[in-house]
Symmetry: C2
Subunit: 206 residues, 2 copies
């Protein structure tokens, strides 16, 4: 029995592999939709409007805030970032599970509006591994890496706010676990109201 | 990473196939322990003490109640039934998931004492199918079947108290879903405190 779509929020340390994990989930399994954020930052070379982000002017973004057209939004390095409400709700109505990546404040803001959202925190197997991955990128200075690790220490304080903790050691295993967790969430009574109502009526008839 | 054992409580309509499902789960997967109830009813032919039930005298049972040695207990048709605490806690400490079958009052009593217990409700795909299964047993009178269906109508009122609803249409599928749900539950932060503490300490050292 097909149930309502689930809103899945993924947070985790920079370098935990959230992006790759979500991309693989959408590739490997059907029924998932990746939410696309809106931002006022300029597109980077190769980025396309509506693919990486919806690129908006400051005025357009602020109008969306005023219209309550964003589920959540935040400012970062002088630019706005936010989650458009219409896409998320449309996909969920179609029975798709919508997955989005966001930091903890945004995740908690979403949980307030969508109490049935499933919040996942992705962590690397150890801090040493996290440092290795950040250094392996080869694009970050030692200073930036240290800043990310300090930020990770802060973020680690919020793990208990999440419904699930995923340890991303091996990508293949982790994507299977992610899918299994979402699959399990479809079995919550709140997502099977139609079936419950049906069997209650049938049994009432006896 | 191995996490603490989970206490899994299974309820559901008589005829939903709970017993077969649990037996198959324990057969097909490792790491599960089936809780054995204590009772004051007499053993039936072929039943063994410590296998189907722990058979106790009324005095022995009442002493266990007084000693708080039962997680929950109830009276049914003039006999006591209850769940021994020592076995459940022992198995969970060993990292085993303990599974037990019980009706809703018992399930809620357990959730109060073990808030992290996972409560599952097993339902047949429809009331018609439930009736078919009850009649298929060939051992019940029409009167008993009607009584069971009326009882099912009552029990259906409590489904929302459970964490998960499992629809037992095909046994093979259902046992896989049951295992997947329990597997997902191992990813709750509350069951990964050791890992969270470890990575916090590691990150704090940066």
């Amino acid at each position: 029995m097909k149930t309502k779509g689930i809103l899945i929020v993924v947070s985790g340390f920079s370098g935990a592999g959230k992006g790759t994990l979500m991309k693989k989930l959408v590739e490997d399994y059907e029924g998932y939709s990746l939410s696309i954020s809106a931002t006022t930052r300029s597109p980077r070379p190769g980025e396309e409007n509506g693919r990486e982000y919806f690129f908006l002017t400051k005025e357009e973004f602020e109008k969306r805030i005023a219209d309550n057209a964003l589920i959540e939004h935040a400012q970062y390095c002088g630019n706005y970032y936010g989650t458009p409400r219409d896409y998320v709700e449309e996909q969920m109505t179609l029975g798709h599970d919508v997955i989005l990546e966001i930091e903890i404040q945004g995740a908690l803001a979403i949980k307030k509006q969508y109490p049935d959202a499933v919040l996942l925190f992705v962590a690397p197997p150890s801090a040493a591994e996290l440092r290795r991955r950040l250094m392996g990128r080869g694009t970050e200075t030692a200073e930036v890496i240290d800043k990310r690790l300090r930020r990770a220490a802060e973020e680690a304080q919020g793990i208990e706010e999440y419904d699930y903790l995923l340890i991303n050691d091996d990508l293949e295993t982790c994507v299977k676990e992610l899918h299994a967790i979402i699959d399990a969430a479809h079995h919550a009574p709140v997502r099977n109201e139609e079936f419950i109502e049906k069997i209650r009526q049938e049994l009432g008839g006896n």
